[in-house]
């Protein structure tokens, strides 16, 4: 019996290197050595949007679209969206913005309830929260009409489109824009990202979604892990450039990559 499943050796090695460097940078941060990270403007934009909602006395919507937690490719952006929700809900509680989180899947609904409840509790504003109105389960599909109708009748002033976005991206963002809301959008799905980028006032794309999740934890040792992710990017860049030069000279590394 082989020690490692065939064709997955390089995968395992790269996983170990990347995970190792992430842990390494987090450990270093514990010891006080923080990597110099670029600021993500989105962190401030969250508060800006919520502030606008408070000023206008209108609600902010936090939408996550597809949250099927039994689908791995959807789960990862959804978990990132929860991390950002935790920050946003707490900011909303602190600033006193009306906050609405419709969720289309049961498990994600339970989690969101707990996050929002916890956020208001942490800010000692539990009495301002009507949980069953702030976090609502809507059957997937029926949420489209509910949210459009309520966007118009509530006149919402701020919206967050964060998570794994599919066709609803353009429906909700365009309606929100027409209602006059200020929007922050972020997703890692390739098919509907253009609408998020083109329509939202602020947008975060691809890996930035996960990075924002780490930034808003406001724990420098957590955001230090981004430096570890960068190691993975450098590996990718070196492999592509070196591999292409070698291939031009007639040496192929593709066999090596699929070992």
């Amino acid at each position: 019996m082989a020690l490692i499943v065939e064709g997955r050796l390089i995968g395992l090695v790269s996983l170990l290197i990347i995970a190792g460097s992430i842990i390494y940078y987090m450990q270093r941060a514990y010891a006080g050595q923080l990597p110099k990270l670029r600021r993500l403007a989105a962190v401030n934009q969250i508060d800006e949007i919520l502030g606008r909602c408070v000023e206008m006395g209108r609600p902010a919507y936090y939408l996550m679209d597809t949250v099927n937690m039994d689908t791995p490719s959807v789960l990862a952006p959804t978990v990132a969206a929860f991390q950002i929700l935790a920050y946003t809900a707490r900011s909303a509680a602190r600033l006193g913005a009306k906050f609405f989180v419709p969720v289309v899947q049961g498990l994600a609904y339970t989690i969101s309830t707990e996050i929002v409840d916890e956020a208001y509790r942490a800010e000692n504003k539990s009495d301002e929260l009507k949980l069953e109105e702030a976090v609502m389960y809507l059957p997937d599909g029926a949420d489209r009409m509910y949210i459009i109708n309520h966007m118009w009748s509530d006149g919402m002033a701020g919206a967050f489109f964060i998570g794994s976005w599919y066709h609803k991206a353009v429906i909700f963002t365009e309606n929100a824009a027409r209602v006059g809301a200020m929007m922050l959008g972020g997703t890692d799905t390739t098919h509907n990202i253009p609408f998020i980028v083109a329509i939202c006032d602020y947008s975060i794309i691809g890996e930035e979604l996960y990075a924002l999740g780490a930034y808003v934890s406001e724990d420098p040792t957590v955001s230090s892990s981004l430096a570890g992710q960068d190691v993975g990017k450098f590996i990718a860049l070196i492999l592509i450039i070196l591999g292409s030069i070698l291939l031009t000279l007639g040496i192929s590394i593709k066999g090596l990559l699929s070992m």
Binding site: A76, T113, A142, Y146, K233, I240, S244, I245, L247
Partner: protein, 225 residues
């Protein structure tokens, strides 16, 4: 009237209700919203109840007692009904998130990370290949968080953004033509010769009703930005 034709007519009516949301919040769209939510909610309730019954309860009755764990995890979820017990739902969540993240990591490393690298290793003998390598490298480098926006990295970041925006533009254009086909498919069904008359009558009634409502200001007209 057979149930097939009746189905087409019902489908046409509810579609008009659904399209009415384009005007903005109004009584017809509210009615359709609640009708749809009710039907869909009932449908989700029934099918999932059936799923849990056949996949969790039946195995237990057949002597496969491992599934009692699954049933317990399901019951823990219902702690949502009392806020103080909410933390109990952390157990089913832990199982789901653990399994899902594990699966996501193991597929992404081979299919996305190594797969895309391997596909981008190209002989630099044509302009297309050169552009492909430059585009992929700069677009990936766009996401480097430890680099500040200064010096040569600024140009790498800008170039990466160009390629990303081109990709988004292409997807925008591609999606448009496909989405038209969706409306067309619906319209074809609503305007079938045997259904068209009902569609027109319904449309007329809706137009009269909403028109009256907006004219007398009984229904609020929202003006878009």
């Amino acid at each position: 009237m057979d149930s097939f034709l009746l189905g087409l007519i019902a489908g046409s009516f509810v579609s008009i209700g659904a399209y009415s949301v384009l005007i903005g919040d109004n009584p017809l769209s509210k009615f359709t919203e609640n009708l749809y939510m009710g039907i869909l909610g009932g449908f989700i309730f029934a099918t999932n109840w059936n799923y849990v019954r056949t996949n969790a309860f039946n195995p237990v009755f057949q002597g496969n007692f491992v599934y009692i764990v699954a049933i317990i995890l399901c019951v823990l979820l219902f702690s949502r009904l009392k806020t103080e017990w909410l933390w109990l739902s952390r157990y089913p969540v832990a199982v789901t998130v653990g399994a899902g993240l594990g699966l996501a990591i193991r597929t992404t490393i081979i299919a996305d990370f190594l797969g895309q690298i391997s596909a981008t290793v190209l002989p630099l003998t044509s302009l297309d290949n050169l552009l492909m390598v430059i585009g992929t490298v700069t677009a990936a480098a766009y996401f480097i968080f430890t680099a500040q926006m200064e010096g040569p990295y600024k140009y790498v970041n800008k170039t990466g953004r160009v390629f990303l925006l081109a990709a988004f533009g292409v997807t925008y254009g591609q999606t448009v033509s496909f989405r038209f086909e969706l409306v067309i498919g619906r319209l074809v069904d609503m305007l079938r010769p045997e259904v068209a008359i009902y569609t027109y009558v319904m449309l007329l009634l809706v137009a009269l009703g909403l028109g009256y409502g907006y004219y007398t200001k009984k229904i609020k007209w929202y003006s878009g930005r």
